[in-house]
């Protein structure tokens, strides 16, 4: 048991450091140019958004269409923090992100408590409405710049910082997903009645999941704000929420690996097809239609990539964990 765990740790650590070196050394040495670091940061932010939406849509099984609103709340909160309180020491940027995340989480509770009494189409519509409300409020608040944008945010998001934030958040999502809390959340997706009859306080877990997803989206928003330096409320509109939803569906609902892969592919695609960027939504919808036809469960279904399993031949009847 302990041997197996430590072996999993070692394998994952080696893989992680190899990936980190492959990505970060070229960036630090300046081999990768500005344009590409921009794409990398966008990918990392999108991974955060897709994986956090995956908590609600994939694990909890609830369709939410207002995810970019939480990103917006987090982005503005973090930006205001660093503008007004200032980034004085190395710890204050993480603190700004944390503040952004917490504000988004508060918004998550606020909307989650009434909204999660509904489900399916109704929840989708109420979250959509919430997203639009947030955008319109942000457009009309003078002290955050309103529609004229909030300017002067220090551009401190770097590739390594975004990268390690994503690694940390995704690792947390993964471990939470494999704990008693994660099981409870998935059981709600599978069968609400059976779940509550098995002693799971489902209302609590619904709000908890929603809030956690909002928190991570808020952190993604903070990274975004400090990457672009200018925030406009219309960046956090309905189209963006759909984009993140597409990533989750394409990757396979309930799979963190799937959401990550889809986030990478769907961020790169428009960049690679620069000339075709007008047809981006067309390609999205086509990809989704094809997906529904040929692989309804998404690229990976609910499967996760596990290095430990790749490296080991599974004996019959042996138990994971």
């Amino acid at each position: 048991m302990d041997k197996k765990i430590s072996r999993a740790w070692i394998i994952n650590l080696i893989a992680l450091s190899a990936l980190s070196c492959a990505l970060l050394i070229p960036v630090q040495m300046g081999i990768i140019k500005n344009y590409y670091t921009g794409i990398i940061i966008t990918i990392l932010i999108n991974i955060l958004m897709a994986t956090s939406l995956n908590l609600v849509t994939g694990l909890l099984g609830h369709l939410a269409l207002g995810h970019s609103a939480f990103m917006g709340v987090g982005a503005y909160a973090a930006a205001l923090y660093s503008i007004h309180i200032g980034l004085t020491n190395p710890l204050s940027f993480p603190l700004a992100l944390l503040f952004g995340g917490l504000c988004a989480a508060a918004a998550g509770i606020l909307i989650g408590v009434p909204a999660l009494r509904l489900r399916g189409d109704y929840l989708a519509i109420i979250t959509l409405g919430f997203g639009e409300i947030v955008r319109i409020i942000m457009n009309n608040l003078p002290f955050i710049g309103g529609a004229r944008s909030l300017r002067g945010i220090p551009r401190v998001t770097t590739v390594p910082f975004a990268y390690f934030t994503v690694v940390l958040v995704v690792a947390l999502m993964f471990t939470i997903g494999r704990s008693r809390h994660g099981r409870a959340i998935i059981s709600i997706r599978e069968d609400e009645v059976a779940s509550v009859s098995s002693g799971i306080p489902i209302t609590f877990y619904k709000i908890f999941t929603f809030t956690l997803a909002a928190f991570f989206a808020g952190i993604a928003g903070g990274l975004y704000a400090h990457y672009v330096g200018v925030l406009n409320p219309n960046r956090f509109n309905f189209d963006r929420s759909i984009e993140y939803l597409v990533m989750v569906v394409l990757g396979g609902m309930g799979s963190i690996t799937g959401a990550t892969v889809a986030a990478i592919v769907l961020t790169l695609l428009p960049e690679v097809l620069r000339g075709l960027s007008n047809y981006r939504m067309l390609i999205y919808s086509l990809a989704l239609v094809l997906m529904m036809l040929f692989r309804p469960a998404g690229l990976l279904g609910t499967a996760e990539l596990s290095l430990t399993n790749l490296f080991r031949k599974r004996r019959k009847g042996e138990l994971v964990e």
Binding site: M1, L172, T175, I176, S179, R180, H181, G182, R183, A184, I186, S187, E190, D191, V193, A194, S195, V196, S197, S198, G199, I200, P201, I202, F208, T302, G317, L319, V320, E321
Partner: protein, 260 residues
């Protein structure tokens, strides 16, 4: 004092009196059958005990403590677990996880302890896994632990539901048509299993069943519902010859000639 006391329980759906003044009791370690024609209100009794909906009037007590007003998950935590007429498993979870979900309230580690993989996480998860495997072994399902629940054959799925209901160490087990869709051989082994569970864990069992060989075979007492009312209660022998029960099942006019 009985383990479960149901007293004067009533509920209406619109104008329909689904249950009227239902009273019965289950002792611990006792197997009680709840039978009656379709639509008599048997599953409604289960739904009221587990607080899926609140009763209009009446009292439900477990070990002398009222269950009225508690939430469904709290009822499970206080020791009443159930299975469903139409199987409700967590289909896309493994057999092991299906069982471990219901051990949730016995584990106490918090979100952070789970996320950071603290020693407490390992200890409690180990305990949950051991307990789940122990129960699965009882049903000879240990080798299937990693299988997805939806891949199990029908009879196995029913048994997995019972495992899930048992893992939280309940005092009372509510089984809603456990033998539905089973062939006679499967039903027979299910009867053995239910008796074995009762003997091993000392739980009280209240079961709804249409298969009379099962009901008559293992129940110590039987409660008969018809149109939401208890029309008879007693030992299987008495129920078998009760005119009102025969009337409820076969119709009153024919009952006179066919009372066997």
């Amino acid at each position: 004092m009985s383990l479960l006391e149901v007293n004067d329980l009533s509920i209406q759906f619109g104008g329909l009196h689904a249950l009227e003044h239902v009273t019965f009791a289950v002792d611990s370690g006792e197997i009680v059958g709840l039978i009656g024609p379709n639509g008599a209100g048997k599953t409604t009794v289960f739904n009221l005990i587990t607080s899926i909906y609140p009763p209009l009037s009446g009292e439900i007590k477990l070990d002398g403590v009222s269950l009225i007003g508690r939430k469904t998950h709290q009822i499970f935590q206080s020791g009443v677990s159930r299975t469903f007429q139409n199987i409700r498993l967590f289909k896309h979870m493994s057999v092991l996880d299906n069982a471990r979900v219901a051990y949730h309230h016995r584990m106490k580690y918090g979100v952070l302890a789970g996320a950071m993989r603290m020693p407490r996480y390992w200890r409690e998860e180990r305990e949950a896994t051991d307990r789940a495997l122990e129960l699965l072994d009882l049903f000879n399902m240990k080798p299937l632990a990693e299988e997805l629940a939806s891949n199990l054959p029908y009879g196995r799925q029913r048994e997995l539901e019972i495992v899930r209901a048992l893992i939280g160490k309940p005092k009372l087990l509510l089984l809603d048509e456990p033998a539905a869709g089973m062939n006679p051989t499967e039903t027979h082994s299910l009867m053995d299993t239910i008796c074995r569970i009762r003997n091993l864990f000392g739980v009280g069992v209240l079961l709804i069943e249409h298969d009379m060989s099962l009901v008559m075979g293992i129940c110590e007492r039987i409660v008969v519902l018809d149109y939401g009312q208890v029309i008879a209660a007693g030992a299987p022998r008495e129920i078998r010859s009760d005119q009102r029960v025969i009337g409820a099942y076969l119709g009153v006019a024919r009952a006179a000639g066919k009372a066997t």
